[in-house]
Amino acid sequence: MDNKKVTSIVIVGGGTAGWMTAAGLCATLRNQELSITLIESAAIGTVGVGEATLPHIRFFNQRLGINEAELMKATKATFKLGIEFKDWGKIGDSYIHPFGNFGEDIARVGFHHYVSRAAQQGFDIHLDKWSLPVMAARHGKFQLPHPDPNNILSSFGFAYQFDAGLYAKFLRAFSEKRGIKRIEGRIIDVNLRSENGFISSVKLEDGSDIEADIFIDCSGFRGLLIEQALETGYKDWTNFLPCDRAVTAACEHEGPSLPYTTATAKSAGWQWRIPLQHRTGNGYVYCSDHISDDEAAASMLADLEGDQRSEPKTLRFKTGQRNKSWHKNCIAIGLSGGFLEPLESTGIFLIQEAITNFIEMFPTKDCPQIDQDEYNRIMDLNFERVRDFLLLHYVATTRDDSPFWRHIRDMELPESLTYKMELFKSSGRVVSYDVGAFKDPSWLAVYYGQGIIPRAYDPVADHIPLESLPQHLGKVENEVAQAVESMSRHGDYIRQYCNAA
């Protein structure tokens, strides 16, 4: 058994994926006799985007034993309570998808069923007022969740908006301190073993061959190992999510510090705004069939909140997923494994899922098929479920004001999504699942936020007499309002918690 033990791993790539993988592996495998080498090339560089995260990243960092305030300081991070979606359901709309619930169950029936019932009575059912993280975001407030789970001030999660380049740098220092070997150099060839097609080594420009038992492909979109060497193939999902480019630029930050990301729907895609401590990141994600690169760049720049700080940079991508995330002795993590547009900040989350699952399924040298199968099963579920959730944002809309939106309107949808939407429209039931980033509250936030109100509600909700409905809803609204009133301003909180300046 011992001779089958993995003793060496090479990670190809030093972007967010590469350094997260390096840090994750060296923190968990520190007792193993295992050499980990990371190869990166400054000449090629990293994709250099990816600033908004999901709350899961906190658990990743905790597992590594990273101090939160220190990390936030080093990455010029702000807190993130959710994402504001503007102009999605229709032009002029705005809602926030928070990291948290809308109201608690009443008499064991989901709060939202009472909201649907209130809608039938003509109440204003804009969900904002029933969610602490949403109201806190709207008022620019933040403080860490209260430790007592019965306190309403505990009822939310949070993530970060940070400089991903600095995050990678932070993780690099972390990993190098723990003995990871880093090689600067460009890989020019990949050698395969004749007997089984496994990767045996990668060749660097200086002629040296680097061998390993396992290769982790974090080389970005190009998929240097998983695709260029192993020809694993790619599932193309542009028929569902047609955006294929992004143009990005940073600008000065204007106004009070905001604890949320904004995604504004535009005529050929959407634009993000991610406020960090020292600047705001922006990017227009668009479909090149419907707008030229120059027009997109001009449109992006026109919507900056402050003075432009960097030259516009255009990126191309193809939405989809590698046929197999793990193939032979190669695991593709990050952009090499697949791409889903950053509408819900899932890039880093998917990297983290990949690392966690790889550690769970850590193989022997021969990479048994059963390990690969189980790993790929979980990663496929993750990708497909995020894909459907992103797609929901596009299809839960009445917009048809441009060729792009008319294309979306006429698009054929995956059955997995139409089914979910049909069930929701009927009586507000969400199709739940265990594996996947977005659970019921997220689906509810987007459905209601984009104007999909169920025709009917859970009949059990009728146990609460109609007369007392306003009182129940009003109570939650008041609690939220009072709690938000008591919270610190986000900018002040950052200054005392993790000021980068």
């Binding site: 495998l29 189980e374 059990v460």
Partner: protein, 446 residues
């Protein structure tokens, strides 16, 4: 507004459960519910042994534990004792073994330390298994330390008495009891709990299990009241024995359809709910009572129905979702039953497995991990116990366990064992506990 009419056709225990549960949950302003009485319960013996989650069902319909135990002669159940299925007998309980130590799964840790030779080696680290063996019981101390507070338990009880209790509750919730089926002609929804499917067109998918059974109830055969359901493999099938407070239930299951008094066919409908007829209980699925499966499915189907109850009963989409979740729950549970048969050395017979079941077994055999699927109702270590108990030992262990040192692990193992030993010391014997807390009138172990 006219009320929607729901008619429950009684037959097996699921009818009474549905009457009470729907009666409690569906507002009487909008629904009128009828229960059609249909004589003694169908396959009642199959429901005499529960899983731990029956407790939650009772709580939801406001049946207190003492009331339940007294009126249904319930004894407590800490697990099921499988004899003759694998190399040695083993108890499958309602909680995972031991505790994770230094982030390593308990079973991996035992393997890595060379402390695992057979499933017996895990016994010291399971409170319910040891309590069952010593014949002791006390409910979990919810304020206690993890090992002492996190186990769970089910019941052995009299299903006929439970049905009466449920129907009494149903009446108090406004459910009307009627004697003839004719009322169902005007029903918006018919819940068929007769034990036989109503729609001829529903296709039935067969599974390979036993084909006939004989059930008996006997006066208590032992002076001790067992805390486990005994599931004993025999030449031609297997035997279930469960003791409530007043009697023993014994069911012999046979692979041969001629051997038992009654025939049965394991399998399920592919569409339990079509149009206005919803089949529940044995009308929808027939699985044998391992880990309380038949009763458990009844409970979960009814809870799922209320969760998805269509505001408009003619809308097909909630029905479709109900069927999707239900059938997938049935299939994952059957995987468990099929693996119970297929991985046993007791018989030289073929038991086909689904791809999911095969994958689950293979991942465990390779590396000791339990693959989790959605709609799987069993705990992780229900599966672990099944595999280990039947002699499947993982080939590889978690690489993170590899460098654990005995000097770090042993004190923790000893601590777990000691906590359990201490807890057991203060536990009364099962019979004493019942006598004090919840004895039925004819309690036989005074």
């Amino acid at each position: 507004m006219t009320r929607q009419r729901i008619v429950i056709l009684g037959g097996d225990l699921s009818g009474a459960m549905a009457a009470a549960y729907l009666g409690h949950h569906l507002p009487s302003k909008t629904y009128e519910i009828f229960y059609v009485n249909n004589g003694p319960l169908v396959k009642s013996e199959w429901c005499a042994s529960s899983y731990s989650d029956l407790r939650k069902f009772n709580q939801k319909i406001k049946i207190g534990e003492a009331e339940f135990a007294k009126s249904c002669a319930a004894s407590l159940k800490l697990g099921e004792n499988y004899t003759g299925w694998g190399p040695s007998s083993y108890i499958n309980s309602f909680v995972d073994y031991g505790a994770n130590i230094m982030g390593v799964n308990f079973i991996d840790l035992m393997l890595q330390q060379g402390l695992y030779n057979s499933i017996d080696d895990l016994i010291p680290y399971s409170l319910p298994v040891r309590a069952a063996k010593e014949g002791k019981f006390l409910p979990p101390d919810t304020k206690g330390r993890p090992i002492v507070s996190d186990f769970d338990y089910g019941y052995h009880f009299n299903p006929q008495a439970y049905a009466s209790l449920l129907l009494g509750r149903a009446k108090s919730f406004g459910v009307e009891m009627v004697q003839t089926r004719s009322i169902s002609e005007s029903a918006d929804l018919i819940i068929n709990a007769t034990g036989t499917p109503l729609n001829e067109t529903d296709n039935f998918m067969s599974w390979i299990g036993c084909k006939s059974y004989t059930a008996r109830s006997l006066a208590p055969q032992s002076s001790k009241l067992s805390l486990t359901t005994d599931i004993t493999a025999k030449d031609k099938g297997w035997t279930l024995t469960a003791s409530d407070q007043t009697q023993d239930i014994v069911i012999d299951f046979f692979f041969d359809e001629e051997m038992g008094e009654h025939q049965h066919h394991c399998g399920r409908l592919s569409k339990p709910w079509s149009d206005r007829v919803l089949n529940i209980g044995f009308a929808a699925i027939c699985v044998e009572p391992l880990m309380g499966s038949p009763l458990r499915l009844m409970q979960h189907d009814i809870e799922r129905l209320v969760k998805l109850f269509p505001p408009n009963l003619t809308d097909p989409i909630e029905r479709e979702e109900y069927n999707r979740q239900t059938v997938s729950t049935y299939d994952r549970l059957w995987d468990y039953h099929a693996l119970q048969y297929a991985s046993s050395s007791a018989w030289q017979r073929d038991f086909p497995l689904t791809a999911k079941a095969t994958h689950k077994r293979d991942v465990f055999a390779a590396r000791g991990r339990i693959v989790t699927y959605e709609e799987d109702m069993l705990f992780r270590d229900n599966w672990t116990t099944l595999f280990l108990g039947q002699g499947i030992t993982p080939q590889r262990i978690d690489p993170f366990a590899e460098n654990l040192k005995a000097k770090d692990v042993n004190p923790q193992l000893n601590a777990i064992e000691k906590i359990i030993t201490q807890a057991l010391r203060s536990m009364p014997r099962h019979e004493e506990f019942i006598a004090k807390q919840c004895a039925a009138r004819r309690f036989a172990y005074k």
